[in-house]
């Protein structure tokens, strides 16, 4: 099976982000980057599918700055076979449509049986690229998969819905987006890390179009007000419960 996994290089969730001087972008100083965790689930699932299959190829495709090679290396160290990096300036990466267009052009040439990606990227929370990719490739999209099985030329996923689960099926090729819980991504092994050094990353310039929107402003969330002590000892419990229910409305 030939599986393409689309991944994004994103700021680490442990990084403290700061807004840049222009007030509408992140200050890149000191920001550490990682492979988008939802895409990591997609990589792991692709590797598992191919291990079960015993044959095939996992190709990682990404749109991003040249520095995105480090996240791609993580995917290669986990076990992916090769990668394509469509290079673009960080500032040009905000628009989901143009990213999906560029990815679709590349993915088309790879003639994959399955296209996997994360349900979203943790930096912009766009939730767009997976679905758009399906649309642009004219393929069915199975989104937010928590379970995936492939047999007889069909993909079956299970996803969470309000109060239950939903099982869906689509013929291959199709696009599947990964939800947390789909699997437990492996740690890149030392051998995997050493082999990744030798695996090819093909670099091409991405022909991104202008986005259909612009970011006007970024602001920090309001500072949390100081906490309040409602009393001491067991007597305070009733008052605390009342406030949590009536005032904070959390219980």
């Amino acid at each position: 099976m030939k599986i393409v996994v689309c991944v994004k290089h994103v700021p680490d969730t442990e990084t403290k982000v700061a807004i840049g001087d222009d007030g509408k972008s992140l200050n890149p100083a000191g920001v550490k980057y990682i492979l988008n965790p939802y895409d990591e689930f997609a990589v792991e699932e692709a590797l598992k599918l191919n291990e079960a299959d015993g044959d095939g190829e996992v190709i990682v495709v990404s749109v991003g700055p040249e520095a995105a090679q480090s996240s791609i290396r993580t995917a290669l160290a986990m076990g992916a076979d090769r990668a394509v990096l469509l290079t673009a300036e960080e500032s040009a990466l905000m628009d989901g449509v143009s990213i999906a267009q560029v990815l679709a052009e590349e993915v088309k040439t790879l003639e994959a049986d399955v296209i996997l990606t994360g349900k979203m990227a943790i930096d912009d929370y766009g939730y767009q690229v997976g679905s758009m990719l399906g649309e642009l490739l004219n393929l069915p999209v199975l989104s937010t998969a928590r379970e995936l099985t492939i047999s007889d030329g069909k993909a079956t996923i299970v996803r969470d819905i309000e109060g239950g689960k939903e099982t869906m099926e689509a013929p291959l090729p199709c696009v599947i987006t990964a939800e947390k819980g789909l699997n437990e991504p492996r740690y890149p092994s030392l051998k995997g890390i050493m082999q990744a050094k030798k695996k090819p990353i093909e670099m091409k310039e991405a022909a991104l179009t202008d986005g259909g929107f612009e970011i006007l402003e970024m602001t920090y969330p309001p500072e949390k007000p100081a906490g309040r002590i409602v009393g001491e000892g067991p007597e305070a419990a009733a008052e605390l419960v009342r406030l949590l229910r009536d005032e904070a409305k959390v219980i």
Binding site: S70, R73, T74, A77, S189, L190, I193, M194
Partner: protein, 390 residues
């Protein structure tokens, strides 16, 4: 590559390459997610988490700097050191396990063994299918291993071993023991003794107050017959075991920095959140002095250790440089662990926090694989040209 968010006052990690960073991340994430949830109960019970050994093998933590031919990862020595750093950030017992397996059992087989020995043992030791131990120290011979009384008498195609080894990490768990003994010509030789050989026993040493999550034992050899093909063919004399110890101490030196860093980060977190006299105790000068001295000592040790690693990667590392680094790093780590405990006050004595466990472990690390005092004399010997051991 996303570098670990950890103590790095002088951009120590700035000189790591992508592989080194990725390897450190793998070791760090594995230790934090897989090992740390188990350490408190194993430490209290005096056991090692054996269930994690196959995962360590799978990830490549055993003999990671040895060649791929034998199922190893063939990483450089700095990356190997970073693994030890992360393992000992978890617990000295975890790092000891990997040190013994990789540096004291696999390394000598690779360095001094026959092709047959390498093919037979190394892949299984790398995967963790087999566990090894290293028998040098004896009840009466610690700092002076040359005085060993364990003997090997040639008898046809066999050697017959008699003697006892003490303080042997992993001996009760081991499938294979590398035992050093003197032959009839008084020459120290290395013997690979398999579990199950008659006359080979490994009683566990109980009652330890240090390295509790590491299993320690004796090796008792009573007319233990070992085939001559199990002798390491390419080494004779005390240089054999001493060269192995240089490898293991190299890993200890990195590990001590990891343990110190874990303590310092615990001290810093605690000091910033513990309120006394209406302010975090980190705001008091005496606490700040402790924290500043910790970061100062860790930073110095980081660069010393990194330089040792770069020298080793260039094939230019000398054993006295390893001794100097062990002197510095282990004492530094022990002092930081104790200092952290004072910042934590009473909280520092319970196992919810790591510093007292690290401090107790480091008491062993300070004197095992060459005591602090012997390493001081190794350095003294190097700079004066005068041996002061005896």
């Amino acid at each position: 590559m996303a570098q670990l968010q950890t103590t790095d006052f002088m951009d120590w990690s700035g000189s790591f390459d992508d592989q080194e960073i990725m390897i450190q991340n793998t070791a760090h994430d594995w230790v934090q997610e897989r090992f740390m949830p188990t350490i408190r109960s194993h430490y209290q019970a005096g056991t090692f988490p054996m269930e994690l050994v196959p995962e360590m093998g799978e990830l490549g933590f055993f003999g990671a700097n040895l060649p791929e031919t034998y199922g190893c990862a063939d990483i450089n020595n700095v990356a190997y050191g970073l693994i030890m750093h992360e393992l000992e950030r978890g617990d000295s017992g975890l790092r000891s396990f990997a040190s013994v397996q990789g540096a004291l059992v696999m390394w000598p087989i690779w360095q001094y063994g026959s092709d047959e020995q390498k093919q037979k043992w190394l892949p299984k030791l790398a995967s963790g299918e087999l566990i090894g131990c290293f028998g040098l120290t004896e009840p009466g011979h610690g700092s002076d291993p040359g005085g060993m009384v364990t003997r090997a008498r040639k008898d046809g195609d066999n050697y017959v071993l008699n003697g006892a080894k003490m303080w042997i990490t992993n001996s009760p768990l081991a499938h294979l023991a590398l035992v050093w003994a003197k032959d009839e010509q008084d020459v120290v030789r290395g013997f690979l003794v398999e579990r199950g050989t008659p006359g080979f026993e490994t009683p566990e040493i109980r009652g330890k107050l240090s390295l509790r999550a590491s299993v320690t034992g004796e090796i008792v050899l009573q007319d233990c017959r070992v085939p001559a093909k199990n002798v390491l063919p390419n080494i004779q004399g005390l240089r054999g075991p001493l060269s192995c110890l240089t490898q293991a101490r190299y890993g200890i030196n990195w590990g001590a920095v990891g343990a110190a860093t874990d303590c310092y980060e615990e001290a810093l977190d605690y000091a910033k959140s513990r309120i006394q006299f209406d302010q975090p105790i980190a705001g008091f000068q005496l606490t700040q002095q402790k924290l500043a001295e910790m970061v100062n000592e860790i930073t110095k040790a980081q660069f010393l250790t990194l330089q040792l690693g770069r020298l080793k990667d260039r094939g230019e590392m000398h054993h006295w440089q390893v001794s100097l680094t062990k002197m510095n790093n282990v004492r530094m780590a022990l002092e930081i662990a104790r200092s952290t405990r004072t910042i934590l006050g009473a909280s520092g004595i319970v196992d919810e926090y790591a510093s007292m466990r690290h401090a107790n472990n480091l008491e062993s690390v300070l004197t095992y694989e060459g005591t602090h005092e012997i390493h001081t004399l190794v350095v003294g010997n190097q700079i004066t040209g005068i041996e002061a051991f005896r």
